[in-house]
Amino acid sequence: MSLLSIRGIGKHFGGLQVLEDVNIEVPGGAIFALIGPNGAGKTTVFNLVTGLIKPSSGSIAFEGRDLAGVPPHQITRLGIARTFQNIRIFPDMTLLENVMVGRHHLLNYGGLALLFATPAFREAERRSRERALELLSWVKLDHKADATADNLSYGEQRKLEFARALATEPKLLLLDEPVAGMNPSEKAVLMEEIRNIRDRGYGVFLIEHDMRFVMNLCDRVAVLNFGRIIAEGPPDEIRTHPDVIEAYLGRGDEAEVS
């Protein structure tokens, strides 16, 4: 069974049809990419999965559970975490605090425990801090744990977003254009981080339009164009798929998408 099932999803904003009968099955423990030209509706798919907007038709299920009517913070608690195309860290908080925000729902002490700093409270906070530091070490930012997040470089902010998303203990991680605006060496580093995350057993579902990055990284790829899925399969198959080549390069072009 796939981890995330998107079945027959349609979405229109007023008269503008953004998605039409989109079907995607995202497996667990693998890297799955949704690619497509700008404006194809990729981010809309993420916004639908995380519950920020509601589909006009169709259904989304996570681990077999229908997500219709589930509010975004509950969807996160079920095990879906995401990063954003235009990075959305908490700039005035330290790296450690940023990551600990992700553990919010896992810290379930009550108001009195909080006020009196009971042993249970201290223990929960300590464990949470340790896990946050561990996650920061996964992305090699633990040495900056006490720096404020706005001091980080662009690439580091992306990595902080990864760690923060992982702090919610998700089963599936949604990455929205993780390498946008990065230079080739930063991209290589990030690609390695994403592979590491998959190898630790997480499912990764990413959006990208950097074809080379996707083809080298992903286990499976779906292509979205004008709100429809036009192809789906392993990278090698997608690379030579005539509809994909047409979507990216235009009709009548013999060139292969590299």
């Binding site: 920020l52 913070h73 995401r82 919010h104």
Partner: protein
């Protein structure tokens, strides 16, 4: 000792005011820490003041019970008006809470039980210095604990990026309502304490002017720590006393302070992060010398 007695006789009211204003500034600090620009805290102070005063005046409740009433009544009101208004953000929320404040003031002005425009007279003088000190200390301790917990981190996350906070599994609506309501509780207690040492309260003490005063104290002191609001409240309570000759222009001076602070010291007077940075720079300069 005699000198202190003299000083206390003259200035005890001023010291009490500093404490109560500090409590008010902290109440707004809590609301602001969740990103809510609210102008309702003066009204919550009024609701707390009138509730507590009516409880001691008419029903002869003991003071602690009246204080509790002064905390609970604004909390109930905050829960009721919070649900619809907290969907608004930024300046729209400010406008909605401003309207709520005016409605509250006009209600107090026109109700029979509140004494209308004449206000309430002869409230028993039950507030003592240590009441204010203890309550301020408890409030400060509670807020400090909140800051270092999941609750405080959630408030700050919501303030910095609401969408990201939501997708970190935080129930944004319930946290906003909690910050708004806890702020109302603190403002209500401040009002209840105030009513029981000024002997007399009237609707005009809880209007727009007061809402802006509370905001100015908090912003002047700075919202990055708990020291900021207390410092801001102290300065803005003592300043009018030190500059009596400017009395007629008090509001203009407050407005000017707000503008200057927002333009030149957006993080307020007390900014721990700026202090750390300054200290680091100084050390770096010293270290650079041979």
């Amino acid at each position: 000792m005699a000198a202190f007695a003299d000083f206390w006789a003259t200035y005890s009211t001023l010291v009490y005011s500093v404490g109560i204003h500090a409590l008010l500034a902290l109440s707004l600090w809590l609301t602001l820490s969740c990103g809510l620009l609210s102008l309702a805290n003066a009204a919550f102070m009024g609701i707390g003041a009138y509730t507590a005063a009516l409880l001691t005046l008419n029903l002869h409740w003991p003071f602690p019970a009246a204080l509790l009433g002064g905390a609970v009544a604004p909390a109930v009101v905050a829960l009721i008006i919070g649900a619809p208004t907290l969907r608004l953000s930024g300046v729209y929320l400010a406008m909605a809470t401003l309207a709520f404040g005016e409605v509250t003031r006009i209600l107090i002005l026109n109700l029979q039980i509140t004494g209308g425009p004449e206000g309430l007279n002869g409230i028993p003088l039950l507030t003592t210095g240590w009441h204010i000190v203890v309550i301020l200390a408890v409030a400060g301790y509670g807020l400090a604990r909140i800051r270092r917990s999941r609750l405080g981190r959630a408030f700050e996350a919501i303030r910095e990026d609401e969408v990201a906070a939501r997708l970190m599994g935080i129930n944004v609506e319930s946290h906003k309502l909690a910050a708004f309501t806890l702020g109302a509780v603190l403002a209500g207690v401040a009002g209840a304490l105030n009513a029981h040492f000024t002997f007399f309260i009237s609707p005009r003490e809880y209007g727009f002017e007061n809402a802006v005063d509370i905001l100015t104290m908090t912003i002047l002191g700075g919202t990055t720590s708990l020291i900021g609001p207390v410092l801001g409240a102290t300065i803005l309570t003592l300043l009018p006393e030190l500059m009596r000759f400017l009395h007629a222009y008090r509001l203009a001076v407050n407005g000017l302070i707000l503008v200057v602070v927002v333009l030149f010291l957006p993080t307020g007077l007390w900014d721990a992060r700026r202090f750390r940075q300054l200290l680091k720079n100084r050390r770096a300069r010293k270290g650079g010398q041979p």
